[in-house]
């Protein structure tokens, strides 16, 4: 991936999950979640990946690439632009991986550096008439920073592939994969051990069966099908001390709306939280390929259909000891993933690849495709998407080719988005802790449960991709490609603000608490000390995220300077990602503007509405990379040197100046606020007044205006990085490589434009190690 123009050089640290980010500078729910990895014809689906608790914009999304053993890969194709209509359920990039198949000698590979150890062994056996049998075993161990062994990753993978031709026209390939991985985060062995650790295990079995039959009929030259099943067992177990710095920790477990007496802890305690996921993915695909020749044209057609089923049968989140929960707060309610319906997806596609040899020089390639996807057909949350795609290229001269494309991708909302967890809000109602009467102590909370309706009306996230490029073939094998692209997703996944209000009361010894010394305290609910109105969002998820990626990439193969036997390659990219929310932009009144009767309780008399989609976050980066590869045939060595400069890297969290356009009162009535009301007041009764009302507190509308004085992008200073790799061929037996990343150990302290604070740059990029590959 790091060879792609604009990608940042770095270490492959296996101790943290990494996903595919193609042509985007932000790892959000629209981009990373929608990057698809297809392994031997079957997508590695992330649709059944579920997390406990409410929607999180920061949780890891996407497909964890650590599931793939690099040594078992025959070929990787990264599609940054418009993919074939054959591939779907994606918004950003597509990575097509073909694992090794065919006859190979014994192959052993070892990679060792201070933070990583990876060994693999594989062979392809020729069983003659019985076919070809491949197997590969891989073991990886990583611990990130070797000075501080607080993180580690262990991975065992094994795969057995079997290729068999039933007849000369009937080819089958079957692959069985096994993965066992364990992430661990804990305390350094030299530190005091208090049992704090986090362990994440993943066991996956995957079986896929690919068949191609050469029918050789006019409309059915090759018919193929793929059947795939992946079953995963994920268990996350975290043990830690639950802090109790304020001395009263309510154990909130109520699942129903109402007042509940809750147990409490007064001191910190050790707890274990477990999340059990059991995603199951089933994939079926049928494909028909045929071609038509006419004159100087040849048209290759692909038509096919897919069915995907994603379900999670896991127990979800639960505690090692429900009496001492790991998450004793509102987000700690267990949720059985098995209660969530499975996700059915049907897709059909058709594609025509036209090659028109206009002349010996001028050749036109056009690929036009259409893909139709239906999600949960016939269900409550049914939605469909149509994705037309077009790619074209034309050779104008022997040395000049232009190309371009436009197309749509669509990504199905995963189970996590379609079926969000119920939402809970808890407010204390009585906190009566007489120190001389333990029997009378009482802690009562009001729990508000909101069952988030299944996200009806939510659409697939669709990305319209457009790109245009030009390729020059220069003398001496030099090649230059320049490409401009624009990806626009108007309906990515994000929270959708919908309010509802509810009342809770608080009870004190003066009002509501029925106190009998020596006996349990009870509550007279008819006599509250104070009643509060709370706003709560429903937790709904919608298509409220908009993201636009655009940029220019270039790739220049400078050819070889024969005198020094060295080839040079220069690549780079100027990229911009802009993301914003189209969700309702509303907020509570600032506590500093409110009387203590609101600010102390964290309530607001009304919600203010501002124009939406005017604030955004914009990322920009300009990177160039130079690679020099030298062959030293006499020594049978290859040396490669890479230097990368990040000329520009900025983030701009832009907040626009804006006036409020309305407010929502506690009855959820929306009131418009026009320009001629900007000098007025809104009282605590959520009514508008031209002059400050007497007898009640109020907020001046002028105080609600947003005027931002420090709107400026945060720019990082120019940084650079270098790496070096030397490979020695060991005859036909194999090769030994030595490498060093960030070879000049350039980790400078530099300040950015918005701060005088010196921050260390390029951290974590330095590493060195060796790789040995042997063909036995």
């Amino acid at each position: 991936m790091q060879l792609l123009p604009g990608h940042i050089m770095g270490n492959s640290d296996l101790t943290s999950a990494s996903n595919v980010q193609v042509r985007t500078l932000v790892n959000n729910n629209t981009s990373a979640f929608g990057a698809s990895v297809v392994m031997d014809g079957m997508p590695m689906s992330n649709n059944a990946t579920l997390s406990q608790g409410p929607f999180s914009a920061t949780a890891f999304t996407g497909t964890d690439l650590r599931q793939v053993s690099a040594d078992d890969i025959e070929e990787v194709e990264v599609v940054r632009g418009i993919p074939s209509a054959e591939y779907g359920d994606l918004t950003s990039g597509l990575v097509v991986v073909h694992s090794k198949i065919g006859v190979t000698p014994w192959q052993f590979k070892g990679k060792v550096n201070p933070g990583l150890m990876n060994f693999s062994l594989g062979k392809g056996l020729n069983l003659r008439k019985a076919g070809v049998l491949n197997f590969n075993f891989d073991y990886a161990q990583a611990w990130g920073d070797p000075r501080q062994k607080t993180r580690s990753f262990h991975r065992y993978t094994g795969s057995v592939g079997y290729g068999y031709d039933i007849t000369p026209r009937w080819h089958t390939q079957t692959k069985l994969r096994f993965l066992s991985a364990r992430d661990w985060t804990g305390q350094d062995p030299d530190a005091i051990q208090d049992g704090t650790e986090s362990k994440n295990t993943n066991t996956t079995f995957s079986l896929n069966h690919n068949v191609k039959i050469d029918v050789n009929r006019l409309l059915a030259r090759t018919i193929g099908y793929t059947i795939g099943v992946t079953s995963t067992w994920t268990d996350n177990r975290t043990t830690s001390y639950v802090s109790n710095s304020t001395g009263l920790l309510p154990i909130l477990t109520a699942r129903e709306t109402g007042y509940h007496t809750v147990p409490w802890e007064t001191r910190s305690y050790q707890a274990t939280g477990i999340t059990e996921g059991r995603p199951l993915n089933i994939f079926l695909k049928v494909n028909d390929a045929f071609y038509v020749k006419a004159g100087h044209t040849r048209q290759s057609f692909k038509v096919g259909a897919e069915y995907k089923y994603d379900v999670n049968n896991g127990r979800g989140y639960y505690n090692g000891d429900e009496r001492l929960p790991y998450r004793p707060n509102s987000d700690g309610r267990p949720r059985a993933f098995s209660d969530i319906p499975g996700l059915h997806q049907i897709a059909a596609y058709a594609e025509d690849q036209l090659v028109w040899n206009i002349s010996k020089v001028n050749v036109l390639h056009v690929t036009a495709g259409l893909r139709f996807t239906a999600l949960q057909p016939f269900g409550d949350v049914a939605t469909t998407a149509l994705s037309p795609r077009l790619n074209a290229s034309l050779s104008l001269t022997k040395w000049l080719e232009i190309r371009g494309g436009i197309g749509m991708n669509s990504k199905t909302p995963g189970l996590n988005y379609l079926y969000p967890d119920a939402k809970y809000a808890d407010h204390v109602a009585a906190n009566y802790m007489p120190q001389d009467d333990p029997a009378g102590q009482l802690l009562v909370y009001h729990t508000q449960r909101y069952d988030v309706p299944y996200s009806k009306g939510m659409k697939n996230a669709t990305t319209t991709k457009a790109e245009v490029g030009i390729d020059f073939k220069l003398r001496s094998g030099k090649k230059l490609s320049i490409l401009a692209y624009s990806d626009y997703t108007p309906n990515g996944f994000g929270p959708q603000t919908e309010y509802f209000t509810y009342a809770t009361s608080m009870f004190t010894p003066e009002h509501g608490l029925v106190i009998t010394p020596g006996s349990a305290t009870t509550i007279n609910y008819a006599d509250p000390a104070v009643t509060l109105i709370h706003y709560m969002t429903t937790g709904a998820i919608g298509n409220t995220n908009e993201t636009r990626n655009r940029g220019i990439e270039f790739d220049f193969d400078c050819g070889k300077i024969t005198a020094i036997n060295t080839s040079f390659f220069v690549s780079g990219a100027y990229s911009e990602t802009k993301t914003w929310s189209t969700d309702q932009n509303s907020s509570s009144v600032k506590a500093s503007l409110l009387p203590a009767s609101y600010s102390s309780y964290g309530t607001t008399p009304f919600k203010i509405i501002y124009p939406s989609a005017v604030d955004y976050t914009r990322y920009r980066r300009f990177v160039t990379t130079l690679r020099a590869v030298t062959n030293i045939p006499v020594l049978r060595m290859v040396a490669s040197f890479t230097a990368q400069a990040i000329w520009h890297n900025s983030t701009w969290s832009y907040t626009a100046d804006k006036n409020p356009i309305g407010w929502i009162d506690t009855d959820l009535v929306r009131h418009e606020l026009t320009d001629d009301m900007l000098n007025g007041y809104i009282g605590m009764d959520a009514r508008y007044y031209d002059t400050a009302p007497v007898g009640q507190a109020c907020v001046s509308v002028q105080d609600l205006l947003v005027r931002v004085s420090d709107n400026e992008p945060t720019k990082s200073p120019i940084t650079w990085n270098t790496s070096f790799r030397l490979t020695k061929e060991l005859g036909k037996v194999g090769a030994l490589s030595l490498y060093v990343n960030n070879m000049l150990f350039y980790e400078p302290y530099l300040s950015g434009n918005n701060s005088n604070t010196l921050t260390q740059r390029n951290t974590g990029t330095f590493s060195f190690g060796a790789e040995l590959s042997l063909n036995l």
Binding site: Y241, N244, S245, T246, G247, L248, M433, D436, A596, T655
Partner: protein, 398 residues
């Protein structure tokens, strides 16, 4: 040959130090300074009050040099090594049966050749009856090495000879953000030094008198329970006078202890006193009949959005203690929140992040006839306060 080489080496050994010494330039060697500080009387100080005979102190790294001012108010320090010093003075005067503190300070003053004559403007402030006497904001670590903050408290002290009714008295917590939203220079520029920034304000209930006897204390806390089982650094606060009642259900409220009223909070859902463990944790006492919710608010200096603070007029402040954060490179005097006429310097704990059980409390100046302690109040917290991990509530002698 060996003898010759040996002789050559010896000659070289003698010549080399001579050569090196010859290269040394002694012109830039540090020389001790004589520093003169001229005290400048404020208008309020009657001419009959002499500026002579008062202690003027110069402090550096815990070492203090004190000299007496002469009749013209000139204090002369001799043998001062060039460095950055805090210079201060204060004394008491009586006028119309009322005690006043005359004080002045020059904080972070660079003393070097050519910069040895300084002027120190003095301020006169009427002594409050009730003063801030103890700030226990550091918190501690519990037996599981987890942080614990429920045992934080403030203490007020009646330092006068008469009983005082503290009902209706406001306790203001100064801003504690880093970076500081408004420096004193910024406040001078924008508000002519007429305000300080508050993040929270509380009031002792005014519904009935709360008399504090001379030498009596007012103990204010967020959780008036016995915290001693958490750590030996914690205290039994069951006897507190007022408790800022938590409304989030995360502090144990003691119903036997009356509520401290929340009057203003910058942050939502915060009804308890936010006493920052590592500092800054400055506190002011003030009285007013005005509705403090009508006081102006401000964003951080130069900003028009973000957090807002309450602007408290300094004319209302009765007593103030500037409690600053100690960084790895020491306390940054530039982060002072209070003007020097309220607190000429600052106090701080020794830990940079807190959780050490450290308490800052006033030193005892003397004992009254009835035996109660009279605490030092020179409006100069470096002089007035000390740090302890064993001092207990309502106690001033370790």
């Amino acid at each position: 040959m060996t003898k010759y080489i040996s002789k050559l080496l010896r000659v070289q050994a003698l010549l080399l130090p001579l050569l090196l010494c010859a290269c040394v330039d002694f012109n830039d060697v540090t020389e001790a300074l004589t520093v003169q500080v001229q005290l400048v009387a404020p208008e309020e100080l009657t001419t009959s009050e002499s500026l002579g005979g008062h202690d003027v102190s110069m402090a550096l790294n815990g070492q203090t040099i004190t000299v007496k001012s002469d009749d013209k108010g000139l204090a002369t320090f001799q043998g001062i090594i060039p460095d950055i010093y805090n210079i201060s003075t204060s004394w008491k005067i009586f006028q119309d049966a009322q005690r006043y503190t005359v004080s002045g300070s020059l904080n972070s003053q660079l003393l070097k050749e050519g910069q040895t004559r300084l002027t120190m403007p003095l301020n006169v402030v009427k002594d409050p009856d009730v003063i801030i006497s103890k700030i226990a904001s550091a918190g501690c670590k519990d037996k599981n090495n987890r942080t614990y903050m429920a045992g934080k408290y403030l203490e007020l002290y009646n330092n006068s000879d008469e009983p005082v009714d503290v009902s209706g008295l406001y306790i203001g917590l100064l801003d504690s953000d880093n970076p500081q939203p408004y420096t004193l220079e910024n406040l001078q520029e924008d508000y002519n030094s007429e305000y300080v920034l508050l993040k929270q304000a509380f009031r002792i209930p005014a519904d009935k008198p709360f008399l504090v006897q001379p030498g009596g204390t007012v103990l204010l806390t967020n959780s008036a329970i016995d915290h001693r089982d958490v750590s030996p650094l914690e205290s039994d606060l069951r006897g507190a006078d007022f408790e800022a009642k938590d409304v989030s259900g995360t502090y144990q409220n003691n119903p036997a202890v009356p509520a401290l009223e929340s009057a203003f909070s910058r942050t939502s859902g915060s009804a308890v006193m936010n006493l920052v463990q590592g500092g800054p944790c400055g506190v002011v006492l003030f009285r007013t009949d005005e509705d403090i919710t009508t006081f102006p608010r401000t964003y951080a200096y130069g900003k028009t959005s973000g957090n807002q603070w309450l602007l408290l007029p300094v004319r209302l402040i009765l007593d103030g203690v500037d409690y600053l954060k100690k960084f790895n490179d020491g306390v940054r005097v530039k982060t002072k929140r209070l003007y020097t006429f309220i607190d000429a310097s600052y106090t701080n704990i020794n830990a940079t992040a807190g959780w050490t059980g450290e308490v800052v409390y006033r030193r005892t100046e003397s004992h009254a006839a009835d035996g109660h302690a009279v605490l030092i109040d020179t409006n100069n917290s470096l002089n007035d306060f000390q740090v302890s991990t064993i001092i207990k509530p309502r106690v001033y002698d370790e």
